[in-house]
Symmetry: C2
């Protein structure tokens, strides 16, 4: 299943960003790109996921599946767990990963989930 | 454009719900159904949008468009503005409503927006 991991690259995570420094969202994007990309997962940078007060943020989506949005992510430490969660989502037949198999950050830092669009 | 307005009907909005009373999410759903449904918009109840700490919550989505999630909605007062915002989303050629034409609750209470899935 072709899964997209959207990463907000402009997120400041509620903090001032020193001139010339990368915002936290861009650092998270770099950390994810430097990690082991799971099979079937494409990382896609996005300018603003509109979760500014709850950043850093990512969203997982795929055709016909629930979309999941996660926030309050740490660009320095959370990339491996995000990639593990994306792998589990890609690997689940319907994209619904059993609760206990989700990384802790996915269990505790959900911002939203949105049902798939039904076939027209 | 066929637009879906997802409404979390189980949301407790962080409050205890007295026995026998409807949770705030169900009250919001009722208020939306009682309002003037914009052309092209379908209201779809959802059991949990996983925005529990920021409820009540709704999500607007349509094929090929950005999805928008809004939270901290008041079931007693916000239904007309939500329906107006859904009408603007349905009426915009690409689903992107100019900022100033969005209801204030949509400008200030965004939980997330997610890009459309690109054609495979």
């Amino acid at each position: 299943m072709a899964v997209t991991l959207h990463v907000c690259t402009t997120c400041r995570a509620g903090q001032p960003v020193p001139e010339g420094a990368l915002p936290p969202g861009a650092r998270l994007h770099e950390a994810l790109r430097a990690g082991d990309l799971p099979e079937g997962v494409t990382i896609r940078p996005v300018e603003c996921l509109s979760a500014c007060s709850q950043g850093c943020a990512v969203a997982l989506s795929a055709p016909g599946r629930w979309t999941y949005v996660y926030g309050r992510l740490n660009p320095e430490t959370d990339a491996p767990a995000i990639l593990a969660g994306a792998a589990a989502y890609a690997g689940a037949a319907d994209g619904i990963v059993p609760w206990r198999e989700r990384p802790e950050i996915f269990r505790k830092q959900s911002l939203a989930r949105i049902p798939p669009l039904e076939a027209p």
